[in-house]
Symmetry: C2
Subunit: 158 residues, 2 copies
Amino acid sequence: MRLSTGVEWALHCCVSLCQSSEPVPAQRLAELHQTPPSYLAKQLQALSRAGIVQSTLGQVGGYSLMRPPQSISVLEIVRAIDGQGPMFRCSEIRQRGPLAVDPECCSSRCAVARLMDAAEEAWAGVLATTTVDDLAGRIDEDGEGAMGEVARWLSRNP
Amino acid sequence: MRLSTGVEWALHCCVSLCQSSEPVPAQRLAELHQTPPSYLAKQLQALSRAGIVQSTLGQVGGYSLMRPPQSISVLEIVRAIDGQGPMFRCSEIRQRGPLAVDPECCSSRCAVARLMDAAEEAWAGVLATTTVDDLAGRIDEDGEGAMGEVARWLSRNP
DNA sequence: GGGGCGCTACTCGGATACTGTATGTCCGAGTCGCAGCGG
DNA sequence: CCGCTGCGACTCGGACATACAGTATCCGAGTAGCGCCCC
């Protein structure tokens, strides 16, 4: 059970994007984070499909946040990259084998699945209550104005 | 970020095992849950390495719980099958690229990693506070004495 | 000089290879129980 | 009748294939800006 590498990149990209009012090309984001440009593009496309970032075509196009960073939760980004499905998928073992339970008795989920769901909900809760803006603030505190540098670097022409 | 299929099987196996005082062969557990015997054996071996179950060799050998089911947490089992590593692995993006932060300023973890760690801790907390015994109890409630049937089936000779 | 048009350069987007992990399978090493034999 | 010994069958354990998802890459479709030409 490992999170995709792209999740980390996507999070950093969103944090970086909220420092720029103008669209930033994927190429430039890849340069900033020193990641494979083509692969990062894939992640950004996923964010675009999820309605988190907006893509602009053309010569001065690129990606920009679709909504204010206070209204974008970390969970949204993780789900967009990693997929919507639950981490635990019950295969209904109880309905198989010599002691198979009658299917019509299985209206409620298996106890194992219920526990796993509860755990995942706790996990998701932490991520849902943190926004991109929160994250940017924390990174800025850690790095003593690191976000300002990012903003300057993004606005600077290559 | 998907949990291994083996996690589900391992959990059900542990629940079943606490219904039998005598060792149960992997073959028989596979029959009970209708799973690939060889693959299930792999999971049981992992549980054995983790010190959760005890393996007994010989003609009437098999697997049995090494400790009372009240002292085995679900988290232990999940970790044994799925691996100990954290689900989020920080690649220290902040130390790369044109705005690389000085490595000696990175004594504390990245803000993104801290958040992910917190989320995982919340997840693990739920699983750590639930034991195999709890799980068996819940399954028994759901299935109206399902555990008793399992105990009877396991003690019955094939 | 102003407006329209075409070109170019740049962007994203999806279709396409490759790699690593999860899944699934197999056969060998080891051990216990039982039967047979001897005392 | 009791104890020892050998055999056999059953067990686990790790080494070996396969399938799928994550990783990485590329090229085509589309658009906006800019320069040029015409009026």
